[in-house]
């Protein structure tokens, strides 16, 4: 468990990063932000990048910026950065709540939001957030800057739309209406493990009926996604235990678990969807 040999760089600007990536993208190049997934993978020699770019010396990437219409999360914002709550009330509260489900405190102090998205573990909480809410990913390269919608971003297990020479500099989350309610539930066998199933839901209540329902599921399929069928079922309904159970059942019918324990995962889907909805309803 000693990493294979690699060349290490510690640039101080985004321009330097993208220049290095342009130069070495064919030889295997990785960005080191928090390193909480990458470093163990390198130690196991499952990842053997020839070049490693440590971005921790680049100033200004560690900010969450409230642009009014959206929040912009820089490439060095750590998981624990969401705990310090200067974000819009309900969105900030759910992001802080979710951050606390990520691994353990030392990991939260190092690992980053954008790093989680670049790594794209199927069970990553932040990937579920990006998939469920409206997120845009900002990828820079020597070729320029482009914006990738979260709907187009995930391609498979730990596989994304990022090109080998692209650096994910920030992620923008569209700020939902202030009366939006959020709910989240995940299950893992131990505290802090990657979830076996997780669900994030958001909706508004208009005259007691659910509107603009977004319901995402993570940890079960190759990557997190919204479940359109379940959203349609819930849209316009009055929230109730019976409706939530129906939503869970419907979700279970529309998932294709990639894990070996298919039956178990499908049952878990019911539970996490139902409980995420309950969680949202309890915040009213």
């Amino acid at each position: 468990m000693k990493a294979a040999s690699f060349q290490y760089y510690a640039p101080t600007s985004i321009a330097d990063v993208v220049a290095l990536m342009a130069e070495h993208s064919d030889a295997g190049i990785r960005i080191l932000a928090g390193g909480q997934s990458l470093v163990p993978t390198m130690a196991y020699r499952l990842a053997r990048p020839a070049h490693l770019i440590d971005i921790n010396r680049i100033a200004g990437l560690d900010q969450i910026t409230d642009h009014g219409e959206f929040l912009e999360i820089g490439a060095l914002v750590r998981h624990e950065g969401f705990a310090a709550n200067r974000l819009p009330a309900r969105l900030g509260a759910i992001l802080a709540h979710i951050a606390n489900h990520i691994a353990h405190r030392p990991i939260r102090a190092r690992g980053t939001f954008c790093g989680s998205l670049a790594h794209a573990d199927p069970a990553s909480e932040w990937c579920l957030v990006a998939a469920t809410l409206e997120a845009e990913l900002i990828a820079e390269s020597a070729r320029g800057v482009r914006t990738i919608s979260s709907a187009d971003y995930f391609r498979g297990i730990m596989s994304t739309a990022l090109e080998d020479d692209e650096f994910l500099t920030s992620v923008r989350i569209r700020r939902p209406a202030d009366d939006t309610l959020f709910g989240f539930f995940e299950y893992s066998r131990r505290h802090g493990d990657f979830a076996l199933a997780a669900s994030l839901v958001s909706f508004q209540l208009t005259a007691g009926l659910m509107q603009n329902v977004r319901l995402g599921l993570g940890g079960v399929e190759d990557y997190p996604r919204r479940l359109a069928e379940v959203e349609s079922l819930l849209e316009g309904q009055s929230p109730s235990a019976a409706v939530f159970t129906r939503a869970g059942d419907l979700a279970a019918q529309h998932v294709n678990p990639s894990a070996a324990d298919v039956d178990y995962r499908i049952e878990l889907v019911k539970t996490v969807v139902e409980r995420a909805l309950q969680h949202a309803n309890e915040t009213t």
């Binding site: 468990m1 000693k2 990493a3 294979a4 040999s5 163990p40 196991y44 020699r45 353990h104 299950y187 066998r189 131990r190 505290h191 802090g192 493990d193 990657f194 324990d261 039956d263 178990y264 049952e267 878990l268 019911k270 539970t271 139902e274 409980r275």
Partner: protein, 777 residues
Amino acid sequence: MNKQPGQYFGQPLQRLEDQPLVRGQGCFAADISFPYQLHMRVVRSDHAHGRILSIDTSAAAALPGVVAIWTADDVADIPPIDFREGSVEKLAPFRQHILAQGKVRYVGDPVAVVFATDAYLAEDAADLVRVDIEELVPLLSADDAPQEFSPGLLTEATICSQGYGDVEAAFKQAHAIVELDLSIGRHTGVPLETRGAIGRYDAARDVLELHGAAKVPHRNRESLAKMLSRSTTSLHLYEGHVGGGFGVRGEIYPEDVLVLVAALRFNRPVKWIEDRREHLMATNHSRQQHHRIRAAVDANGLLLGIENEVWHDQGAYIRTHGTRIADMTCGILPYPYKVPAYQADLHFRLTNKTPAATYRAPGRYEANFVRERLLDAIAIRLGLSRIEVRRRNLIRQEEMPYEAPLMALGEHIVLDSGDYEGLLDKSLASIKCVELEAEVAARKANGELVGLGLAMFVEKSGLGPTDGARINVDSSGTVEVVTGGASVGQGFETVMAQVCAETLGVAYTKIRVVHGRTDRIEYGIGAHASRATVMTANATREAALLVRKKALTVAAELLQTPEDQLDIANGIVFRPSQPQGPSISLGEIAQRLRPLSPNRGDHIPGLCAEGWFNTDHQVYPYGVFIALARIDPGTGAVIVERIQIAYEIGRAINPMLVKGQIMGGFAQGLGGALLEEFRYDDRGQPLCLTFADYLMPTLLDVPPVEILLCEDAPSPCNPLGIKGAGESGIAAAGAVIASAVEDALGLPGVIRSLPITPHMIKDILRKSSGTPVEMCP
């Protein structure tokens, strides 16, 4: 025997060991380095079973900095690793060579070693070693028919049997026969510090050294000296800080031998530090057994006889313990109950998995699970409460000492002392069982899946027959206790210091305890089988009594006072009747006893003594576990809400450390009950080689452990009345959690295996279609 707590006995004193550990000044195996050292990397088999066709080391050897690469031919002169308790002819062919000869038998089997000037480089080179293996069909279950191990030998190495009485007659006259098919998963002790071994040859003194030793340095020295054809006096083992042992660390493995052979041949220090991935495939596994047990009972639920057939999954080779776990499983299984007729037959079978050996409470974790499942099943069958069926079958206080016609660790079992029913009653009272049962009933009525579990067990501890210690007081008054014990993190130094302090009359902080070093004392038993406090503490007491006697004799002359009017406190000999009168410190006495001291008189030089403690029998502590568990029907998760462990310790030298042992043991037991399992695919590839796949409970996953520590039945086998504690917290953890989960499900007989996974619970809930059956409390 004085049961009163003393100034040091029975006190929850802080650990002497902690200062360097909490300041980052500990010295673990990886912290040890010597100038000019080489790093060793093991090339391991990627196949569970196969024939080695060729090993190509040319690319690896070409890397600059690679000094040598060895395969089996290079170490053909080294015999396989032997059993600690001596050779057993029948089992000898199943021993492991330090590098695989001709065949590989598990994923992780060492096939070659690389020596290089840098650890990274050694790993780079190991990656380049090409091992061509013709894959053979692996044998992955002890339940499957035995295959050929080698020409003329089957993978069923032996059958271990123990028994007595007329079992057939017992079953003939039975009112009911209860039969269960039970299994325990493959898991093991996983110390946070992986193994490490640093070999060093000092040619100037012709001494070979092994650093990174643990657990049993003296016994290992004997085995290693024999393997390497050296005298024991020219081979020394050194134990530094040890980050957990749990039975697996400190046994002799191929890597320990390889660094020694290499240090000798290269005349350079050779360092090997195991990584986590290696650890999970190379260090001993444990526990995996399948039991088919039957009990014959009369109409009152009294046991008439037990018959048990066991399949023990030993893995690829038989390591240093031989069949010890198997023998222990069969020997300890009936207790604490009286079983008039008993027969256990265990198929000791090799498979193509990591070899298995002892892990904290070996044989007992398994046997306790099996026996207590059986008692629960009998209770259900006869409509008795789980408490009552146990109460009726317990061995009674007046029957102690109870001579059992079975063997454990090569000795006849004699249960030395105990009031099993008394501890059961104390345990039930302490947890307020009546109220708790009512609370559980109310929650069940409210639709919750919640239940109570009960498990009783008898531990064994303090295997003799003999241990010694040497105590010396220097002229500063500092006391050095030299033992052949070992510290795997359990607080060994503190406990020995407490015993010496109390006996001799010095502050425990003035005592330095030496352990784990073969160059300081000729013999030692190390730290295993919960024996250090029983054996080494009693030996320390013997030595301290002799030093005390000598100090008083010398002081009596100097102070012109009869010996029997003197006492020692805080290292000062004084006359209690005249506290302000003349006194002398132990340091001054030591000064006068120096060989060249003009005041020494006829005394033998030195304020020092060697003491020995002998015992005929092990001691048998015992305990009662009660658990409250809840099931989340949505996820299948088991949440242990409460756990109470009542434990009879005889006498606790340091109750804080005893409680620490119990809590830590329970955490591991919970792991084996709910989380930890080495899984393999159908080609024998291990699926749990990281901490993301091999799930150990963290602090967040373990409930607070309520401990009821009792000192009601001191052992008559040693003057301090001590019984061991090291394995108590884990012993019946699997048993009690299984009992509580089954009660929570309300479905008798559904929990038949460990670990109990959420997946398994969901399957049970789906199949039962939500119709719980009422169980007796």
